[in-house]
C-alpha cells in the first residue's frame, strides 16, 4: 500500500503528464500569452493577474472539468513496483480467462476471413471511394449480401464463458454445499448488499424527488419538475462537470439531457473535434475493413428492426465505422482487462515490428454492439457530437460489459450482484426458477450486456443511463434486472419452464425504471 501522500503525488504527476499532452494545455498557454497585452495584467503581480484572468474568462473551469474527467476515467495508480497489468486487472485468473476468450474471438474472426476469402483490410479503389462518399448519408439503403457473415459472438456465448470461470484458490467441489453459490456465477467477488446499495444510491430514496415519479398526492409533480429544470439550467450555466454529475442522479429533464451529459463527459465539440471526426471519416472512405461488414450486419439485425431506433440506421453506420478506425480508443486498454488484438502485415506473421492493432480501435463488435449507440441518436443530431459522446461513454462504462474483470462495474460482478440480490431477497422465486431450469441470469444477462438498450422504452432507458453517468457505475443495471424479476414475481412463480419465464419477461417496454428501482431498494422490508 502506498502512503496517502505518495499516492496523491503520483496521481498528480500522472494527471499533469496527461494534461500536458492535451489540446487544453496549449490553449491555456496561448490564452495566458495573449493576456499579457491586457492593461490589467501587471508585471509586478504577473502570476496572480494571469490566474485571475484565466478564472474570470472561464478557462479555470475548463481546466477543472478536464482534471475531473481524467480522475473519473483513469484508475488511481498502483504501487510503483506492481506490474502494469494490475491496473488492467489484479486477479491473475481473470486475466487468463479474458486472454482465452480473446483467443476464441480471434480464431472465429480468422476462420471467417479464410472461409470467405476476404482480407481483414484492403484499400478501396478510387471508384469505390467516390461511391462510398456519395452515399455516406444513406448507407442504410445499400443491401450488400451479408448472409455469409455471422456475428463473432452473441451475449449467450459470452455467458457460457462466465459460467465456467473459477478461482483456482477456492474450493470448487461440484457437490452442492453451503459454500457454492446457487446461481450460474461461481467466482467469489465482493458485491454490495442492500444496505450498501441504499447508502450508495442514497439520492434515489423515497424522500428525494425524482423525475418521472409523482407519488405524493398533495404536491403536483410539476412543482418538483419546474424547480429541477431551474436548477439544471443553473448547473449548465456554471459549466461544472462535477455539479452536473451530482445533478443527474435525480434524472435529467428531457430538454437538458444532451447538454448535461456532454458536460459530465467533458465533450464540447470544438472545431478540432469536428476535424478529428472528419479525419476518421476519410479513413473509412480509404480502407475497407472486415469489421465493417460485421457492423453492417449487426445494425441490420438489431437497430434496423427496432421500433424506436430504425430511423437512425444511417447515423449508426456513421458512428460505428468511424469508431472502428479511432486509435484514441486504444488508450482505454490501459484500464480495460482486454488486450487489443494484433494483426500482422502479410508474410510477417509474429514479427512484432509488423504488427498493427486490428481493428484500429482494438474493439471487435459483437451481436448487439450497435445498441450502445442507438439511444444516443435521440439526443444528438450532429454526427460528430454523437460520435464523441458515444466514444466517451464507451471508454468510461460500456467496455466493462464485455470484458472479464473483477471490477465492481464489470459484467462478472454485475451478474453476481444480480444473482445475490435475487437469492437473498426473493429466495422462493430464485429457487423456483432454478428448479424449472430457468436460471434467472439466463434471462437477464442480455439486458445487462446491452445496458437495457432495446429492451426498455427510450425515455425510460435514458432515465436509467442518467444514473449510470451520475454514479459512474453500472451496478444500477444489476439492481434494475433484479427489480424487474421482483416486479413480475407473481407471474414468474406460475411459470413451469424457461420458455414460459422468458415469455413473462419478453416485453419490458411498459416498465417504469425509477419506481421499480425505488421499490426494490427502499420499500422492501429489509
Amino acid at each position: 500500500m502506498l502512503g496517502q501522500d505518495g499516492g496523491l503525488s503520483l496521481t498528480i504527476a500522472q494527471l499533469v503528464q496527461r494534461l500536458k499532452a492535451s489540446g487544453l494545455h496549449s490553449q491555456l498557454e496561448r490564452q495566458a500569452r495573449l493576456s499579457l497585452h491586457r492593461p490589467d495584467i501587471k508585471l509586478e503581480s504577473l502570476k496572480e493577474d494571469i490566474k485571475g484572468f484565466l478564472k474570470a474568462s472561464g478557462w479555470e473551469k475548463k481546466l477543472q472539468n478536464a482534471v475531473y474527467s481524467e480522475l473519473s476515467v483513469f484508475p488511481s495508480p498502483c504501487h510503483p513496483s506492481a506490474p502494469p497489468e494490475h491496473i488492467k486487472e489484479s486477479l491473475a485468473y481473470m486475466r487468463k480467462a479474458q486472454g482465452n476468450w480473446e483467443k476464441r474471438i480471434l480464431k472465429s474472426l480468422n476462420s471467417m476471413c479464410t472461409e470467405l476469402g476476404i482480407p481483414l483490410a484492403q484499400k478501396r479503389s478510387v471508384n469505390e471511394q467516390k461511391e462510398l462518399l456519395n452515399k455516406w448519408n444513406e448507407m442504410g439503403t445499400d443491401e450488400p449480401d451479408l448472409s455469409l457473415f455471422r456475428p463473432v459472438y452473441a451475449p449467450k456465448d459470452f455467458l457460457e464463458v462466465l459460467m465456467n470461470l473459477r478461482n483456482p484458490n477456492y474450493e470448487n467441489s461440484e457437490q452442492p454445499s453451503f459454500r457454492n453459490h446457487l446461481g450460474l456465477i461461481q467466482v467469489p467477488l465482493k458485491v454490495k448488499d442492500i444496505p450498501e446499495l441504499k447508502e450508495y444510491f442514497s439520492e434515489l430514496d423515497l424522500n428525494t424527488g425524482q423525475l418521472d415519479i409523482d407519488d405524493s398526492a398533495e404536491v403536483p409533480p410539476e412543482l418538483f419538475e419546474n424547480e429541477h429544470v431551474r436548477i439544471g439550467q443553473k448547473v449548465l450555466a456554471e459549466q461544472d462537470s462535477a455539479a452536473a454529475q451530482q445533478y443527474v442522479r435525480q434524472g435529467c429533464p428531457t430538454s437538458l439531457r444532451a447538454e448535461l451529459w456532454a458536460l459530465i463527459l467533458n465533450v464540447s465539440n470544438q472545431p478540432e473535434d469536428v476535424l478529428y471526426y472528419e479525419q476518421l471519416k476519410s479513413n473509412v472512405i480509404l480502407h475497407d475493413l472486415l469489421v465493417d461488414s460485421l457492423i453492417y450486419k449487426d445494425v441490420k439485425l438489431t437497430a434496423s428492426n427496432d421500433d424506436y431506433y430504425f430511423v437512425f440506421e444511417d447515423y449508426l453506420y456513421q458512428v460505428l465505422l468511424c469508431f472502428s478506425r479511432d486509435t484514441s480508443v486504444l488508450q482505454h486498454f490501459a484500464y480495460n482487462s482486454a488486450i487489443p488484438p494484433k494483426s500482422y502485415i502479410r508474410g510477417k506473421l509474429g514479427m512484432e515490428e509488423y504488427a498493427v492493432f486490428y481493428p484500429p480501435n482494438g474493439v471487435i463488435p459483437f451481436h448487439g454492439f450497435s445498441m450502445y449507440v442507438a439511444p444516443l441518436c435521440f439526443l444528438y443530431h450532429e454526427p460528430s457530437k454523437l460520435y464523441q459522446i458515444f466514444r466517451e461513454i464507451y471508454v468510461r462504462y460500456f467496455f466493462r460489459l464485455h470484458s472479464i474483470s473483477s471490477h465492481p462495474s464489470g459484467i462478472v460482478s454485475l451478474c453476481l450482484l444480480f444473482e445475490t440480490l435475487l437469492q437473498t431477497h426473493l429466495p422462493q422465486l430464485f429457487y423456483h426458477l432454478r428448479e424449472i431450469g430457468a436460471q434467472p441470469l439466463r434471462i437477464s444477462f442480455k439486458w445487462m450486456v446491452r445496458a437495457f438498450s432495446g429492451y426498455l422504452a427510450t425515455d425510460q432507458l435514458l432515465l436509467l443511463w442518467d444514473r449510470i453517468l451520475g454514479y459512474s457505475s453500472l451496478e444500477v443495471l444489476a439492481v434494475l434486472a433484479a427489480a424487474v424479476f421482483a416486479f413480475r414475481a407473481v407471474n414468474l412463480m406460475e411459470a413451469t419452464s424457461l420458455a414460459a419465464a422468458e415469455a413473462v419477461l419478453a416485453d419490458l417496454s411498459t416498465l417504469k425504471v425509477m419506481p421499480l428501482l425505488q421499490i426494490f431498494l427502499f420499500a422492501t422490508g429489509t
Binding site: G140, T141, N305, Y308, F310, D314, F378, T458, D459
Partner: protein, 423 residues
C-alpha cells in the same frame, strides 16, 4: 336494458369485427334492421343519396357524415378553408390577422393550392412568381398516394393537360379534377429521412363542434433518403410517405413498417430542440386541426346519426411549422405490423366507446358527451359547448393568447386533461 346492438359492415377487417364481437353485438345483413353500420365512403354516398331516400331512425348510427367530402376531398377542404379565412377577415376577427407579406399569421396552414383545370391561370401566375418551386399534383378523389406526381416546370403541366384531354372526354368532369399544391421542399428530416404525421381525430358532432384527438398517432417514414434535388422527382419513394406506396419499396421493413410513435417524435424534439419549441409545435398541430374542422362545420350536414374518425396527414417543415396536407375519411384499418394491429384495435375500441356509449343500443337524443373515464386514449381537442359555457371571455383569451404567441396555453384551453400518472 334493451337488446343487443345489431351491426353491419362492408369492410371486412378483423380490428372492426373483433371489437363488435367483444361487445356481444349481433351481426346482421344490411337488409335487416341494424343499429350500427361501419361503412365505406361508397356506401355512405348511397345511404344518403336522394334516390334511395333512406331515413335513419333514432337507434341507428353510421361512421360517416353524409357530406364528409367537404373535409376529406382535397379540393373541397382547401375551398372551405379559403372561405373560412375570408369570412373571419370580413368579421374583422383577430384570427385573420396578416403579416407584412399578406400571409395569414394564424390561418396559413395549408400549402398554397389551386384546382386544376379550373384555376389554371391563377396557378400560372403564382408559379411565375417563384419559378424554381416544386409542385405536387394530386387527383382530388383518390387516396393512398394514387395518381400523384411532382412537377417543377410549366411545360410538364401543359403536357399533362394535353394528355388527359386527348385520352378521355370526361377528364374535364370534376371526378378527374386535380389539385396542385406547393410542395413543402424543406421538410423536417429525422435521421436524414422525411416523414409525415398520421393523427386520428374523432368528431361526434359538428354543431356544436366536439372533437377528440387520439394520443397514439405516428410518424410514417420514407425508406429512401430525402433529397430536394430535382433529379429524383420521379422517385416516389423519396417523396411520398403513404404506407401503400412505401410497401413496394425494397427497404420496407415489415417489423416496424417505417412507423414511429408520436411519443418518440416528442422525445426526440424535446431532446434536440428544447421543450418550448416542441410544445409550441404540438399546440399548433392541435390548432390547425380545430381550425380545419371549424372551417367545414357550417357546411357539414350535422346528421345526429353520424360520427366520424378522420386520419389527418400533417407535414412538419424544418422551421417546425406544421402543414395540413389532407384529411382521410377512411383511414386504413389494415395492420402492417403487430404494433399497428394493437394500435388500430384500440383506436376502434376507444372510438366505439365514445360513439356507442356502454355498447348499448344507440339513442340519438343523447347529448354525445361521454364522461372522461370513457375516453380511453382520446383526449378532448375542442368542445364548443364547453368553450361557450366558460363565457365569451374565454374564446377571446385563447385568441389573444394566440396573437401574442403565448406558449403551451392553447392545448389547455381546448380542455386537455391533466397528465396521466403511473400506477
Amino acid at each position: 336494458m334493451a337488446g343487443k346492438v345489431k351491426w353491419v359492415t362492408d369492410i371486412e377487417k378483423s380490428v372492426l369485427i373483433n371489437n363488435f364481437e367483444k361487445r356481444g353485438w349481433i351481426q346482421v345483413s344490411e337488409n335487416e334492421d341494424w343499429n350500427f353500420y361501419w361503412m365505406s365512403v361508397q356506401t355512405i354516398r348511397n345511404v344518403f343519396s336522394v334516390e334511395t331516400g333512406y331515413r335513419l331512425s333514432d337507434d341507428q348510427i353510421v361512421n360517416h357524415f353524409p357530406n364528409h367530402y367537404e373535409l376529406t376531398r382535397k379540393d373541397l377542404m382547401v375551398k372551405n378553408i379559403k372561405r373560412y379565412r375570408k369570412e373571419l377577415e370580413k368579421e374583422g376577427s383577430p384570427l385573420a390577422e396578416k403579416d407584412e407579406n399578406g400571409k395569414y399569421l394564424y390561418l396559413d396552414f395549408v400549402p398554397v393550392t389551386f384546382m386544376l383545370p379550373a384555376d389554371y391561370n391563377l396557378f400560372v401566375e403564382e408559379f411565375r412568381k417563384n419559378p424554381s418551386s416544386t409542385w405536387i399534383m394530386k387527383p382530388c378523389g383518390k387516396a393512398q398516394g394514387k395518381g400523384i406526381f411532382l412537377i417543377n416546370k410549366l411545360s410538364q403541366i401543359k403536357k399533362w393537360s394535353r394528355d388527359s384531354k386527348t385520352s378521355s372526354f370526361i377528364s374535364q368532369s370534376s371526378k378527374e379534377a386535380y389539385v396542385i399544391s406547393l410542395y413543402i421542399n424543406n421538410p423536417l428530416l429525422i435521421g436524414g429521412k422525411k416523414f409525415d404525421l398520421r393523427l386520428y381525430v374523432l368528431v361526434s358532432t359538428y354543431r356544436p363542434l366536439r372533437c377528440y384527438m387520439y394520443k397514439l398517432g405516428f410518424c410514417r417514414f420514407c425508406t429512401v433518403k430525402y433529397t430536394p434535388s430535382t433529379s429524383e422527382l420521379d422517385n416516389m419513394f423519396v417523396h411520398l410517405t403513404n404506407v401503400a406506396i412505401q410497401k413496394h419499396g425494397d427497404d420496407y421493413n415489415h417489423i416496424h413498417g417505417g412507423k414511429w410513435t408520436v411519443s418518440n417524435l416528442r422525445l426526440y424534439l424535446e431532446s434536440t430542440r428544447g421543450k418550448d419549441v416542441t410544445s409550441k409545435l404540438f399546440d399548433e398541430i392541435h390548432w390547425i386541426i380545430v381550425q380545419s374542422l371549424k372551417a367545414v362545420a357550417p357546411v357539414m350536414n350535422n346528421d345526429k346519426h353520424c360520427f366520424e374518425c378522420y386520419g389527418y396527414d400533417i407535414i412538419i417543415d424544418d422551421k417546425l411549422k406544421p402543414w395540413l396536407i389532407e384529411v382521410n375519411a377512411s383511414p386504413s384499418l389494415t395492420s402492417s405490423t403487430a404494433n399497428d394491429r394493437i394500435l388500430k384495435y384500440n383506436l376502434i375500441n376507444d372510438t366505439l366507446n365514445i360513439a356507442v356509449p356502454n355498447g348499448e343500443i344507440p339513442d340519438n337524443k343523447w347529448n354525445k358527451s361521454p364522461p372522461k373515464e370513457a375516453l380511453g386514449n382520446y383526449e378532448i381537442l375542442y368542445d364548443e359547448e364547453m368553450a361557450q359555457s366558460e363565457g365569451p371571455d374565454r374564446d377571446l383569451r385563447s385568441r389573444s393568447g394566440q396573437s401574442i404567441g403565448l406558449k403551451g396555453n392553447r392545448a389547455r384551453d381546448f380542455g386537455k386533461p391533466g397528465p396521466t400518472t403511473w400506477k
